[in-house]
Symmetry: D2
Subunit: 153 residues, 4 copies
């Protein structure tokens, strides 16, 4: 699918995403960083850490999912109006190759920005020296949540 250009509904979209990311304590715990915020597209980075691996020494599939879920969720949040927060509804993940390398780039993109539901695709790219390879593909649904004051950004 050709990536689309989206118009943000809230011009402070980037600062909202950055502030929300800072409140995601799981991101701090696993060491993920917010790299890039554009309307409808967000990139995170996760340096490889041995304490996040599964039994074969690869990053655990769930940890990789954690960063690409956040990337997709923030891609959706970047298109929200001021009154809406975002929740993950569901996602599907294909693990294409072992998640090994110096770091993972997790990119989330909105492909369908509905008023209530936003569909996103995500990919995780392992970076090892000069080599980049896609290790994970995600297809996800995010939901815009309105009128629930306990759920902010």
């Amino acid at each position: 699918m050709t990536p689309k250009k989206f118009e943000p509904r809230d011009e402070s979209y980037e600062s909202r995403v950055r502030a929300s990311f800072d409140r995601q304590r799981a991101m701090h715990t696993i060491g993920a960083r917010l790299v890039r915020v554009e309307p409808g597209e967000v990139e995170l980075e996760l340096p490889f850490r041995e304490d996040l691996t599964q039994q074969h020494g690869f990053l655990h599939a769930g940890i990789v999912t954690t960063v690409v879920d956040s990337a997709c969720g923030y891609a959706a949040l970047s298109l929200m109006d001021r009154e809406s927060a975002v929740l993950s509804v569901e996602y599907k993940v294909n693990l294409l190759a072992p998640a090994i390398g110096e770091r993972m780039r997790a990119i989330g993109r909105v492909i369908k920005p509905g008023r209530t539901l936003l569909v996103c695709t995500g990919e995780v790219i392992a970076v090892a020296g000069d080599t980049e390879s896609v290790v994970t593909a995600m297809q996800a649904t995010m939901m815009a949540v309105r009128g629930r004051p306990e759920l902010v950004d």
Copy 2:
């Protein structure tokens, strides 16, 4: 689907699962415990921790996915012969309710034990006082990997 009873192909299935779980460093990092191992069914437990939350204070969907992916993977491993290791191929996760509570019970079950591919369902149950509620449903494919000596259990 009615849960089935399976015959393990390797009588040391429980010790294999326990030894492999101990090598999953991500499980230690997030504080998950292995609760129960039966042929084709495994239960893990994740106590709630604030440093694993997303921006609204719920456990991050990816962290919940991490434990239920491991539960499904070990449900598959419990049915492997001695020569086979297990890798996650793909999974689909529906987030039914916010993951809050004192702890999460993550249960993985094999529903189709093919020779190469095993299909599993998983669920995560939030425990809060006397109340249990299903917060996550997974449908996953695991792969038996043979003849790759670098991939053990």
Copy 3:
């Protein structure tokens, strides 16, 4: 997951499901029948037909998906209030075994009846003589659609 009992919000749920099924022209074309309607659970039946097969002589995976998607959609519709119609948001299907036999039983069940989104599981059981075997597992999200008069049941 233990199947739950649900209270219908509209006591005419069964006649609504039956009337809507009769309008699904694709169901007539492939020869599917509505077998059973309960609150939150619907069963359809598809007799095997050679003109619905793929290249190996099995029922095409998409045709099997068609009946189990309708079963899940009608399981959701059976729990709707009078003002709401249902649309499929997304589904994930695992093809566990070839869809061969005299007929397929497709069963859809609601596992989470949210106000806007309903999560369902579906299974397709191949019937061959006295033997029944699960050939397909689905995990799906359905959406309650309100205030769109062009979308009725």
Copy 4:
């Protein structure tokens, strides 16, 4: 994900795909046509037909799934060696918009050509006059099946 160029392992890949498509009787029944075969990418076309609709007059989601599943399966078959047939393992479908229009273009692409498992993405584009819009996104796993003489192409 940037589409890749793949080298076919069997130079007669196009005639194999075309011959197999002709044996998919479900394709004839719903009126689908094979439009384009390239190594790792296949396009089918489905003219709109009222006898394939659901209750609101849109093409049934399962019918749309049927064509894009075949497109993905044939994208995988186009990369197979002579000894391998293809089966669908699983797929996830997001329904982005109602499937209405004069015809649907269903495009399947391999994104990871493993020896046993091939991961594909698919999309369905509704064509109405001069307008094209993506109505469905698929992420699928296909399996290369060897040594089973009853399963040919």
